[in-house]
Symmetry: D3
Subunit: 219 residues, 6 copies
């Protein structure tokens, strides 16, 4: 804990003064343009990899960057999505998985969850990715895990589209969804290209989206 | 979205290369010492205010930095807490609220939640703070909101202590709980001092804790 | 009740004998090719409008032809979908709404549900259609209701795609989804064309599908 | 799918024209007298075995013809029952099981449900029938399954009586409950005789009911 | 609190010594014959009104003597019923309501439950009694409340019969159900006579039961 | 059942007349000062061991004297606690466990709960005590069970403090919490001393409390 307190004191002394105007401007309002949903993993810092200052990203973080589908007992992710889309009117949602994800590893290797029942229960929201992952052949366990990370991002994008606030914003053409996978070792980012239905390099394809066009108008 | 992609490209080009060794070392493992639970609010960046590099903090972020008490249907916060405490064996948990929190403002001012039912439902996990906040006299709405932010941190600390993983770690003397409130405008941090049962300046009281001593041994 | 008993006696005497071989063949197995999900409404008889004999359609019927998204407490629709897709290996799923639907009318006109709390609760699974319906302008209440019927079919198609069994079957290319709306008065059927994202006449477009191609392969 | 489209086209061309007046009369209202609850099984077509035209039966179909008891999170069956009894004021409810039911077979033979978790979870609503079935001696597995089908109908009748709308209608003497079991091979129907507490042939006992008299008046 | 500590000291000094053998015999086992379910109300002491010593009654007490119907998330009442019927093999279950019950009064008078949301939620398990109570005419509010107390006992008897352990024990003829209403002022007890479907004086009808005969054997 | 009816008749004849005035005074109101939460176990009679007459204790009894933490689906214990604290304004809450508790024995010995699923599910609310109990060394199974009984009381005290009504009353200084363990064989009572964090003899320490001082004032 010493480290974290010292970190804060260093922030107060060295960093805060250089950002004082920024923070003053943010004191009574925020207007982030992006909702960034990623894993709790300590190695993936949303603001660092997008080089965003405070005020730029509304962030949801949980083990496995999971977005439960909408239901009668909405929890913290559903509430935070609704707040971001309805109250803050963000223009983009990024679901960002990452390499070597402990949660996805646990699913892909059928790790025994008896000692962590809450984790086991939570990971069931990735069941539709797990079942696809298990049905496929993979050359190695490493491949299986990496595939699981990607499958999970696709599954959570599907879940996200059951949320009323998201669906309305998509219908009104004011929201775009993005599915990313970050590689910790190389710093590379893959993005899901909804029109080609494949992951591609984000650096080389900066315009890909998970949902390429607004959803249909009924009638 | 342009900004976020450009941010990532800048990260790739300018930042990643200077951290290459750090990221290589983190490629296949993480060992954060602290679980940091804070609000999704864009203005509160945990790694910035604690001056931590990637790998340092396991982070949970949701609207209102809420920790539901443990129950039969554990959600994402419960799972992430369990993973941090049981699998990663973090030594400290910080619950960090902040000034001008939209979620706490909604509660303290009895904002109509009809247009955001998932938010309304989620904020019920702060009911034990809300009911205390409502029963007290406050000189102004601003005071009421600030008090709500503080009450909420105390209530979430109580909820946290119903989690089996937390209780075991407290019993074994390997976990300390912290309750903080960050002021966006001034950069000041208050910490809950469990022995005095009051919030104090963290800078002036770097050793305060929410749970000053290990919990009791039964029998 | 007299009518229904007499109906059965008539069936026994006149209809059963003419189908005896069919029923004998079905005594110990069923192998329907289609899962048909429609409203409980008495006016929409799936086997009649598809001219299918016993053994042809696996049928789910409930108020509003609703398919809750997949979650930790799966109910009857989730179970029946899973059984049809996993055990019976149906090749097609049809979600079929209909004109003058009491459930959709209740939603579109914001009918007071105090006297029918279970209905009110159930219809929340159509929230993502309702919110879109409410945000749009409609020339008349009748138009609003008809639009709601169509929106609901699209929303339930989204919900359906969060089910693990469905997602696996889509990935493996062995399942096609269909979204239909039946007009009671005219006997016309509209079908949702996923590629054009619009409803078209089924009679004139017998090949339209809600999901035109298999879902993406990750990686 | 070709078959089902062709079936619909045939319906449009040959069947609809002969029922045009019926459908016109039904365009803006339904007034079914009976709620018919049966299995999703493709071999049991409610309108066929009761020789009812469109407009005659309000139908709920799910795997196992199950009616969850009333609780704080009512699902699709509860909502549809409530709608039928409260809004449509049906005079009779029939719960109709059938021979060779896949769901009942799974319960009676303790089939492993690991591959179909949603089915496994749903069938727990038949636990009070399962536990009785398991405690009894049966001469063969076939007998055990057939007994399970019958036990299940009795259990669902008990569940049905916990629904407020049902209980009120029973108290007011405007609703009768029926429990039936249909034999696919022979076309025979058994009905539960509440006064004798046994299943009897419906053809020979057309007046039997599951609830022979209105429920008690308190005080 | 002084009173309660003094009460205990008095028990230790005066009462315990006179029951020492009884308590010694009970130290390592209990074998109560009856499960007694009553209200938390301070005025209704089960052991006093049945003149039973320690060891005689297994007791469940909650606000409103409510027994939720069996479902996928069984709570404390379901667990305690299961333990009593399955593990302890009690021979009788008594559900005992009482005059002037605060919970029933709240239901019968439609008291605003905003200040007690948990109570409001819990009382929904008496909905099937409430709906009957509301539909009937009563000469006075007092009559309405008294009728509600009686209706509630009948409704909870129906809920109780959805529990697997109860249903098995009834089938096996080793359990009898009783529905009582106790009048605090007069000390009179009414019991529900299942065969006459009415409440009668227990003193004058000591043999009445809520379930007069074992439930039916299927097939 | 004969015994219980005879018990009641004896009460009516011999006991009621000697308490007639007491009961008359209680006919239309109760004002208990204490909420007593204990196990359903037949050997622990709250009114006997505290020597309280009718009207003195508001009583919750369930298997294991468990108090679920507060959540979005409050059950019977939450409702009864809320009623006692908010409506009746009790001054003290006692959670009273006991020696040889079947529920605690089942947990401490990892008894197979397959035959009693509702009990197994309910006992998960003691998970935070179970996990501590399992991590510790105990000299004998008997010791392990006794420790479990004590751990459980501490865990339920933590759960109790997540209830809004309890937290408000603690904040306002009008409620005190007590954690007791009763020994059936010896009649001794231990009480949890919150300041020393240990169980001590209640007879020798009549003033101990689980929560020695009011909870903190925020800010
Ligand atoms: Zn991860
Ligand atoms: Zn905030
Ligand atoms: Zn309809
Ligand atoms: Zn079936
Ligand atoms: Zn009462
Ligand atoms: Zn016990």
């Amino acid at each position: 804990m010493k480290e974290i307190i010292e970190g804060f004191l260093k922030f107060r002394k060295n960093v805060f003064p250089t950002h004082e105007d920024l923070f003053k401007g943010l004191a009574h309002q925020q207007s982030p343009r992006t909702l960034f949903i990623s894993c709790s993993d300590s190695r993936l810092v949303p603001e660092l990899i997008t080089q965003h200052e405070p005020g730029g990203l509304f962030v949801i973080r949980n083990a496995g960057n999971i977005v439960p589908s909408y239901g009668p007992e909405p929890g913290g992710v559903s509430a935070s999505v609704e707040y971001a889309v309805t109250a803050l009117q963000v223009a983009d949602v990024v679901i960002c998985g990452h390499s070597d994800c402990g949660a996805m590893k646990a699913i892909a290797t059928c790790a025994c969850m008896d000692g962590m029942p809450a984790v086991g229960s939570w990971l069931r929201y990735a069941d539709s990715a797990r079942i696809v992952n298990q049905a496929r052949h993979h050359r190695s366990e490493r491949d299986r895990i990496e595939a699981m990370v990607h499958e999970n991002v696709i599954a959570q994008l599907a879940n996200l589209q059951t949320h009323p606030s998201v669906r309305l914003a998509l219908e009104e053409g004011r929201l775009t969804l993005h599915g990313w996978v970050y590689d910790i070792e190389s710093g590379r980012m893959e993005a899901f290209d909804g029109s080609r239905r494949a992951f591609v390099s984000l650096a080389e394809n900066p315009h890909v989206r998970a949902t390429p066009e607004p959803l249909p108008k009924a009638m």
